[in-house]
């Protein structure tokens, strides 16, 4: 517990040390939503009843993808660059527990970002919905987050292997967000991409949230989506942890932990 708390405290301290980061968190949702908002306006909202709210919920939920990939995977790359990764991991504190502390901080930061993006962008661009349904949506968002963070552990393993994370993090976040239906219904994707989208937990978490808050028909019946999310959460958490442990063992044995 002490290791998790220490890692959490370290990441929190680093975040608040660079106070301009807070400005980024405030502005990011407004900036990244702007192209979608103006695209929606250019087409008069298209066939959507309320495209702004549809896309805003998409941006808020998929912002967790960025938090996971940048917060867990990319932060390992930063440790590599600054030369502290090997020293930290050779200490008696378990690397997995150090990573868990980072995951918890990332979850706190991601939730703050997500709520802020809904609140701030909601005020600026206009957001509507049945918000009393939000507590029910947590039953879908919870397992989605477990699955997403499981994926994040596996992604952290990948960063340890390729030792460069900028493009794969940036592109990975964008691809997963788009496939999850961030800015359009998954049904409007080309068939091959739609099949991929149906294998992502964020697709179901976002779809359930939109159905409950904005109304409309879900992709699958909601109880089915809930069961799928529970299965994905268990599978991705187990797979992500297994990948991370395997890669960690490999880089330790190969002696490449300090390389970048």
């Amino acid at each position: 517990m002490a290791v998790v708390a220490a890692a959490f405290g370290r990441d929190r301290r680093i975040f608040f040390r660079y106070r301009l980061q807070i400005l980024r968190i405030v502005l990011d949702p407004l900036v990244w939503f702007a192209p979608l908002y103006f695209l929606g306006r250019a087409f008069g909202g298209g066939p959507f009843r309320d495209y702004t709210s549809f896309a805003l919920l998409g941006v808020a939920v998929t912002s967790y993808i960025g938090t996971v990939m940048w917060g867990i995977g990319f932060s390992l790359k930063q440790d590599m660059d600054t030369g502290v990764l090997e020293a930290n991991w050779l200490s008696p504190a378990s690397p997995s527990l150090q990573l868990l502390g980072r995951v918890v901080w990332s979850l706190v930061l991601g939730t703050a970002e997500s709520l802020l993006s809904l609140g701030l962008a909601g005020v600026v661009y206009g957001l509507q919905g049945q918000w009393q349904a939000l507590p029910r949506a947590l039953a879908y968002i919870g397992p989605m987050l477990v699955a997403l963070y499981g994926f994040g552990l596996g992604f952290a393993g990948l960063v340890l292997v390729v030792r460069q994370a900028n493009t794969i993090t940036d592109a990975g976040q964008f691809i997963l967000s788009t496939l999850s239906g961030q800015s359009m219904p998954v049904g409007d994707l080309p068939r091959g991409l739609a099949a991929l989208a149906m294998a992502l937990p964020t697709t179901y978490g976002l779809d359930a949230l939109r159905t409950l808050v904005l109304g409309g028909a879900p992709l699958l019946p909601l109880p089915v989506e809930q069961r799928l999310l529970a299965i994905m959460a268990a599978a991705l958490a187990a797979a992500g942890a297994a990948v991370f442990w395997a890669v960690e063992r490999h880089v330790r044995r190969a002696g490449t932990l300090a390389l970048h």
């Binding site: 660079y18 301009l20 980061q21 400005l23 980024r24 502005l27 990011d28 407004l30 900036v31 990244w32 702007a34 192209p35 979608l36 103006f38 695209l39 929606g40 306006r41 250019a42 087409f43 909202g45 298209g46 066939p47 959507f48 495209y51 930063q78 660059d81 600054t82 030369g83 390729v162 030792r163 460069q164 900028n166 493009t167 794969i168 940036d170 592109a171 964008f174 691809i175 788009t178 800015s183 359009m184 219904p185 409007d188 994707l189 080309p190």
Partner: protein, 253 residues
């Protein structure tokens, strides 16, 4: 000149060392516009006008990507040296500092420009994009944009020295271009006050020329931005760097 060449070589070596190099320059410039094309397709639902709109989206998103990559690479490279602990030693060497900075910067600008040109070709083949501007105009816009893009990069590099952070600065600058230049829509869709902000940014005119606007006027304006932004970037960077050296803060991050 040898320091400049050494900077170019080092930057190229480091880029080719990592396996994501090819993905960054071959696949990413198609994936990014494709996401907005798919969204526009869902909004248009096969309606009229979407075919002509594709080129607007592709030109806007690719141009923005170019600025984005430059912002990250010029400012980010300095930040990486700061955190990696090599900045102070490299910059204390007798090599000209402008060469240490512009070598990697020009490599990045050139490589990412090549990536964007390739992305435009790929989008033309994959999505049937029909361009409003003839290719000599597009090439002239690209060439005329190099100095102002470099100028933006230098301004960011100065900010990295000052703020000891790169991500916030990059987000602010690229965010401004993203919101105010109409990367996914014609400028007329933006509210009036935002159009006026866009009017003060060079990317607006580069996009206007690419989208079939009066390219002669746009190119003259771009040249004005070239002089202004390149000079501003160079002056700002020189000033901040001198101040950081005086305070002995080159190695701190």
């Amino acid at each position: 000149m040898s320091a400049l060449w050494a900077g170019v070589r080092r930057s190229l070596l480091m880029k080719l060392r990592y396996p994501d190099f090819w993905f960054a320059y071959l696949a990413w410039p198609v994936i990014f516009p494709a996401a907005y094309l798919l969204t526009a397709g869902a909004l248009a639902q096969g309606g009229h006008g979407f075919a002509g709109y594709r080129a607007d989206i592709v030109s806007g998103t690719l141009m923005w990507m170019w600025v984005n990559v430059t912002c990250w690479s010029v400012g980010g490279a300095l930040r990486q040296e700061q955190t990696g602990g090599t900045l102070e030693s490299n910059w204390s060497s007798p090599a000209a500092r402008w060469a240490l900075l512009t070598g990697p910067a020009l490599t990045d600008i050139g490589l990412s420009l090549a990536g964007m040109v390739l992305g435009a070709l790929e989008c033309t083949l994959l999505f049937g994009v029909r361009w409003a501007a003839p290719w000599p105009v597009a090439a002239a816009v690209a060439v005329a944009s190099v100095p102002w893009v470099l100028g933006v990069g230098l301004v960011l590099a100065a900010m990295v020295f000052w703020a000891k952070d790169v991500s916030v600065m990059v987000n602010l600058v690229r965010g401004l271009f993203m919101v105010a230049c109409g990367i996914t829509c014609p400028l007329a869709v933006l509210p009036g006050w935002l159009q006026r902000v866009g009017g003060a940014l060079p990317m607006t005119y580069a996009l206007d020329a690419m989208r079939g606007g009066p390219w002669g006027t746009d190119l003259v304006r771009l040249l004005g931005f070239d002089v202004g932004l390149a000079a501003l970037g160079a002056l700002l960077f020189a000033g901040v760097e001198a101040s950081v050296r005086r305070r002995g803060a080159l190695g701190t991050y």
